[in-house]
Structure formats: C-alpha cells, structure tokens
Symmetry: C3
Subunit: 351 residues, 3 copies
C-alpha cells in the first residue's frame, strides 16, 4: 500500500491545489466509485455535479473547472494526463538486481548494472542484457539475443536466437519472439520446410501483449518500429516491417512480408494479408480483412476492407434488400397489369 498526501501529489504532477495539502490518498479510482481515501479526475466542467457529490479525497480537474467549497481540487492543464501522472505515483514496480541463483546463465552472458535475471530464467551464450532491464522468472533468452536498457521481459517469455530488443521495451508473459516463419515449398508429396535464417528486431519503447508471437524473417529482419504497442495474442508473421507508433489490438494477425507505415491502427481481430503495403496513419476497423495496399490516411472496414463510409452505406443498403425484393416482385406484377391495359387500349388482347 502506497500513501501520498494531496500536497505531494499536486507537487509531483504540477497541479495547483485548492484544498487540504495534508489529506492522505491511498489509491486511485474512477469518479463514479471513488471512496474517501481515493483520488479521481473529472475530464470536463460538465461533471461539476458529480464532483460535488463525490466522497473522494481529491479530484484532478482542468483550468476551466469551477471552484467547489469543501472539495479538494488539483488543477492542471489536461486532467486526463494529470490523472495518468498521479497513477504513476501509485505504481509498484518489483525490480531486482543481479542474477538469481537458480537462473541458468551461460558463462559469456553480459548482464549490465542494476539489471536483474529472475529465478529459473535461462540465458544462453552471447546474450547481453542492458542496464536496469528485468528478465523475469522462467523466461528463455536464446543465443546471441541483445536486450537494451530498462526493458521488462515478463515471466515465461521466449526470445529465440538472435532476437534484438531495444530500450524501454515491455514484453508481457508468454510472448514468443523469433519462432520460425511459416514457410514451406510443396515438393509433390510433402511440404518442404524453408529455413528461416533471419531475426526479429524490436525497436525502442515497444510494448507487446501476453502470448503474442512474432516470427523471425526468412532472410533479414522482421522489424517492429519504435513506440509500437501490440495487445495480447497478436500474430506477426515473418518478414513484416511494422512502422513506428503502430497500435495492433487484441488478436490482430499480420501475414508475411507486409509493410505497415507509421501510426497505423488496427482494431481487434483484424487481419492483414501478406505482401501488402499499408500507408501511414491508416485506420483498420475491428475484424477487417485487408487484402490489398492502402494509401496513407485511409480508414477501412470489412472483409475485404474498403473505405469505412462505403462499407457503412453497403451495410445499410443490404438491410433494405429483403424489402426491395418484395417491392420488385410487386412491381413486376404491376408492370404486367400496365402492359395488359396498354394492349387493351391498342385494341389487342392482353398479353
């Protein structure tokens, strides 16, 4: 349990405090549920009534928020950012230094100052671990893997031979980097394995969710750009080149040899085909199936993925098709009736 006072928190997050500096805060909570020992935030002045009714120890608010008597306000420029900064004060990070006696570490492994290798981790020959990085329990780090500074490699993560991880990367439990790409050549009676000789490179500030898998390249590198964030159970096939600050949410899959530009965002369970080129800033809706190139800035949805507006129009239109079919059959009958009436006017017999 961490306790701070409102005064300390205000100082740490750069807020001006209106209220009791000595008031103790035990934790953080959403505005709706915050109790007497908790700190919350109000995104806009519209929440003034909720703030008045809260029993929270304090509320982080923006500069345009009204003052409230008997309510401790921490005033900042951006309340959400202020709240995130305050949360950081309550984060407990378990860090350790040195190599646990039960870890299996090859003789030539280099573990930098203040880095830690947890119990039952395995570090094979040639591994380098940067300053302050944490290799958690049960992780496997294969031959020649390089891990930068300030990384957090979770329990039971597997980094296979030659993988390179930048600085400040977070790999959640069960992540696998560097498994063989899925490459086979049909030889008439069997699928012959194509050796996968490349590696995986993770640039700085990348976070990768639990049980996500990234395959090594056939030749060269599968590369994940700086600042990209992947959610759980994501699949990145071999040879992909993923740009910077890319967001791939839960269960997204990217088939091989594709290129994603900077700032691409893909919703949950979206799939991207192999050998496609996705421009900067493309937004891909959840469950979409991207099967071709996309220009920078496009927003797509559906399988195959096409411009969001067009897909919406088609989905609306599809909902009208059952009625359209009925109306069309009715119209055909009416047409026949008109034909008969015309024929009769023409002096002939109904058709």
């Amino acid at each position: 349990m961490i306790a701070h006072t409102l005064g300390e928190i205000a100082r740490e997050i750069g807020a001006s405090l209106e209220g009791l500096a000595e008031r103790a805060v035990r934790g953080m909570a959403p505005l709706d549920t915050a109790g007497p020992g908790e700190l919350c935030y109000a995104e806009s002045p519209e929440l003034v009534d909720k703030v008045r009714g809260t029993s929270a120890a304090g509320v982080i608010v923006g500069e345009d928020f009204p003052a409230i008597a008997d309510c401790n306000l921490l005033r900042v420029k951006n309340p959400k950012v202020g709240f995130v900064r305050a949360m950081e004060l309550f984060r407990v990070e378990e860090r350790f230094s040195g190599v646990h006696v039960s870890a299996m570490v090859a003789d030539d492994v280099q573990v930098a100052d203040e880095a830690g290798v947890g119990p039952l981790a395995v570090l094979e020959s040639g591994v380098c671990v940067g300053p302050r990085s944490q290799i958690r329990a049960g992780a496997f780090v294969g031959r020649g893997v390089k891990i930068g500074a300030d990384c957090d490699i979770g329990p039971n993560v597997v980094l296979l031979d030659g993988t390179i991880v930048g600085d400040r990367c977070i790999l959640h439990p069960g992540v696998v980097l560097g498994s063989d790409g899925y490459g086979f050549h049909w030889m008439g009676d069997h699928h012959h394995k194509i050796p996968q000789l490349g590696i995986v490179v993770i640039e700085d500030d990348v976070e990768i969710g639990a049980n996500t898998c990234i395959d090594r390249a056939t030749l060269g590198e599968t590369r994940i750009g700086r600042g990209s964030k992947f959610d759980n159970l994501v699949h990145i096939a071999h040879n992909n080149q993923i740009g910077q600050h890319v967001l791939l949410t839960g269960q997204v899959g990217v088939a091989g040899s594709s290129r994603l530009g900077n700032g691409v965002v893909a919703g949950g369970q979206a799939g991207i085909a192999d050998h496609v080129e996705i421009g900067d800033g493309v937004q891909i809706g959840a469950q979409s199936g991207v099967i071709g190139d996309l220009a920078a800035g496009e927003k797509v949805w559906g399988t195959p993925a096409r411009p969001m507006g067009r897909v919406m129009r088609e989905k609306v239109a599809l909902g009208k098709v059952p009625d359209l079919l009925k109306a069309f059959r009715r119209q055909e009958k009416e047409l026949q009736a008109l034909r008969d009436r015309i024929a009769s006017l023409e002096g002939g017999q109904p058709e």
Copy 2:
C-alpha cells in the same frame, strides 16, 4: 489403466443394472466404436439396433429404453449425465502434496494442507494456496496472489501480482492472468503508457483454456463470474465484468470495460467491442462482431452483430442480388417499351 466392473459402475452412477455385475470395464467409448472392454451410452430408444449390435461391455440407457437379451444395460434417468458420471470414474488425476524441492517459494508463502507445488514453479512473496490446490510445474505465481481450494493451475501458467482465484478453478497451461491492460494516451509524439493498477479476480468454479489471457484492470478489478468457462486463446481486456456461467469458446475476444451478463454464450472467434453492455443469456454467433449494447436474451450474428433472423434473411437476400440486378435492367428496358407504346397511343412520338 483403471478397471471397474459393471456392478461397481452401476452403484457409483446410481444405475439399475440389467446384466453381468462382474463384467470388467477398462474404459469408455462412443457407441459406434466401443469394443468388448468398453462402456458406452445410448441417448434415445431409437438407437436400439445399434445397441443390439455393439460388442461393448455395457451400455448406459434411459428408463424408456427397451430391454435387450444378452446385453448389459445400466439404466438411469439421463443417459448422458450417467455417462459423464461414469467417465469421472475413469479420470486419472495426478495430484501431489507439498512443495517440490526445485520450486522457488518465498518464505512467507502459505501452502495449505494437501496442496501441491510442482517442480520449478515460482511463488513470490505473500502468495496463498488453498487446500488441495495444485500448482503445476513451471507456473509463475506473483506477489500477493491468492488461490482458493481445489484449484488446478496448469504447467507454465502465469498469475501476476495481486490476482485472486476462487475455489475449484481450472487454469490450463499457458494461461496469463493479470498482464497489463492495453492503455495508452497519445502525447503528440508517442503513446504514453497508462499505469494499470487494478487486478484480476476469478470467482469460483471457473475454467480457463490454454494460452488464454486476461488483463488486470486499470483501476479496480477485471472480474470473471462464478462458473464461467473460457476456451483456448481467448482474450479478455482490462476492466471487463464477466457474469456467471458465461461460455466463451475458442479465440473469442472481449475489448475493455464491457459487461457481460449471466449465461452469455459466444461462438468461436466472436469479438465484443469495448464499453458495451451485454444482457443475461445473450447468444452471440461465431465470428460475430458485437459493437453495441444487447438486451437480455438476444441472439445475434454477423459484423456488426444483429438479430440472428434478420442476418439470415439478409444473407439469403444478398444471394438474390445478382439476379435482381439483371432483372432490374430487363425491367428498365420493358418500362421504356411501355413508355413508347403509351406515347404512340397518345398520338405523340416514342420518347
């Protein structure tokens, strides 16, 4: 190999036996493939000919099943339930007590009576393991994790700090509970990580499939209700509140901060968006994409998920659109012909 006699099995499952009590049974099999040492079941009297032809040691049948000469019948109220009960007699559960010498267990860990901690498991400070629970080989149990009674925590499972697991829970290999939720705030030039300070709570009688991941809440709890069963490779994002007896089948994904009522069922690869409310008993078809709230009892399919009947009608209607397009073009020509005939009747020229 476990062997029972028909008499023993009948007694254990509460069946009345018509046949040889001493007949030995080595195992269980489906009716179609059961051999002389095996026990099977027939769900309805319509299977009487198959039962007559079987070489099985015995057949579990219902009360309305006809008697058959020379065939050992175990008569129960519900044959399927009787079969499941009999299967339980043949289940071999490997259980152990105490802490394996190779496990890494912090000094203050509490392991209850008859609980077992397998080889190379890691239990950090403050962990409690309830009576008879099994922590299998290579599992990682982080600081302050509480595990109830009679749980089975599979090999290489990862339970991160603060996770709470109820009684009689089964976590299959590779499950990850308590990894950080996927939360970032764009700061103009990078995605800033939002600390994830909450925990995961698993209520009693929950079963979670292999390599499934459940993220900790940003604040408060990600909670899985009593009796829920998740299949393999399911993704549960942060802050979700999952009700009781919920069934999520293989590869289902639930984005953050959603609420699923009791008895919700989702077919394989379905996805549920963030911040939605799913009522009790909702049924979600396989591969659906739920993007909004659903009232109790709804049955939906498709992306976006809508009422099953409507989606079916639309899918049928879509199949008729290619023909409709042709018919419509034909009709336009006919309309033109009628227009011409009318113009001619009116004494004018064809348009």
Copy 3:
C-alpha cells in the same frame, strides 16, 4: 557465421557453376538487397536485368536463364528449390545430447541416444524421447508422453499426459498439446465438466507454430495427420481428425469433432465449426467461417463459407445495391407516371 564457397554450394545443391568456385558466401539474401558476400536467386529469365545489376556473390538460376559475363551463376532445374537447399547449408542448429543437470526427469524416463533434454525441462514418469530429439529449456512433458525421433520441442512447450508425437515434428515455443477439451453439460444451475479422457496424437513431420493449442479428445484421439503444418496461435478443439499435409495458417480455429481431409488449406483467422466434414484439397479463404460439410476440392470464402466465385459475385453485387435502391425509387415514380397516362388514355382520372 558460416562461410561457404560458391563451389561448395554448387556441389551441395547439385548446380552447375558458371563463375568463380572460390568466391566466398557469408549468407543468403533476396535478389533486391543481396550484397557482395551474399547468394540470391532469380526465379525466371525475366529478371536478367536485375541479375546483371546485382552485387551478389552469386545467383541461383534455372536452366533457361541466359549466361551473363562477370556474374557467378549456379544453374539448377528449379531455382527456388535450389535456393531453399542452399539456405539449409546456412542454418545453424543448436543441438545438444544428454540431460541437462537442471532438468527434472523422472526415474523411468527413456531418453534415446543423442537426444537432448534442456535446462529446467520437466519430464514426468513414463516419458520416452526418441533418438536425436531435442526437448528445449522449460518444456513440460507429462506422464507417459511418447516423442519420436528427430523432433524439436521448443522452449516452454507443454505436452500433457499421454500425448504421442511422431518423428521429425517441430513444436515451436509455447505450444500446448493435450489440454482438456471444452466440454460441459448444463445441470440446471451450472455447467458440469465432462471429463476429457482421450489423448492427442501428432503424426510424423508435423510442424506446429508458437502458442498453438490442441486439445485432447473426450474419448479416443484428437489426431493431426502426417506432414501437416500449423502456424502460430491456432486452436484445435477436441476430437478433431486432421488429415495429412493440411495447412492451417495463423489464428485458424477448428471447433470439435470435425474431420479435415488431406491437403486442406485454410487462410488466416478462418474458423471451422464443430462436427463438419471437409473433403480432401478444400481451400478455405482467410477469415472464412465454415459451418457445414464441404466436398473435396471446393474453394470457399466468407461467413458462412460458400464457393469463392459466388461470394465474389455477391460482394460485387452488394456494392451496386445503394445505386439500385435509388434507381428503384426513381422507377417507381415513373411507373406511377405511366399509370396516370394510361388512366388518362382510358378516359378515367389519374389514380
């Protein structure tokens, strides 16, 4: 770093060399990026200009490729196969023999000659490991598991009790074989677990991607046929019978008790329902949802999956529906106009 000469490589892959036999090769690269120490290949004579411009040490080409002065060509029947063969010369396989001192191996485990058991692996009672097979670090091998010859069982793989793995199988990190199938029987107030008494059988030459899960059968076997290749994060439920040489790409899911014939191919994120029968050679498009039987040789796409051509026609037709709806409304107005004109000709009043 492995170095070969062009002469050695030509001899190993059965190529006729036109050029410098002594030229050293340090590695392999695609034609576009190959540098002076690298070997590449050109699939067809159309690439002659690229080959002329390359600085690669040598190029593997077909028999119909033109000779090029000052360019080292290795001529083979099939350049792609030649390239794969050459890649095999550059693959470094880390192999070890014997049981690592930190592995936990039951007394009755049989480890064949030249087989290796890595650090912190766990092999329970009754396990057999075939000749030259490698059990990597942190793998868990449950009671009675049989592993054939020349297998590679990756780090942190989990093989649960009774699993059978054939010869020359490759299991990538985090694979789980033999977890309980997802089987429950609703008892009025809870889902009662149906014991899963069967096993998983993996035939020879199967490769399984990282974090893929295959469940044991309820009774009998879940079976994966010889030569099949699964990608990462694939889900195979209980009782499935998968044929030979089946390709399941990333994140495919197969629900229970289905049968896939030989040579079936499924694109990424495709799902196959339970209790369906898929004929030999069926091709299933990415993200498809197969909900019924498919005859041999069918090519399907979509959810529900139907013949590829029909789905394409429907998708094209759907794109025309918004315009069709507009045209239909226009036509209805015109029909009304015609009706009025006819009524007027008939001497009556407009309707």
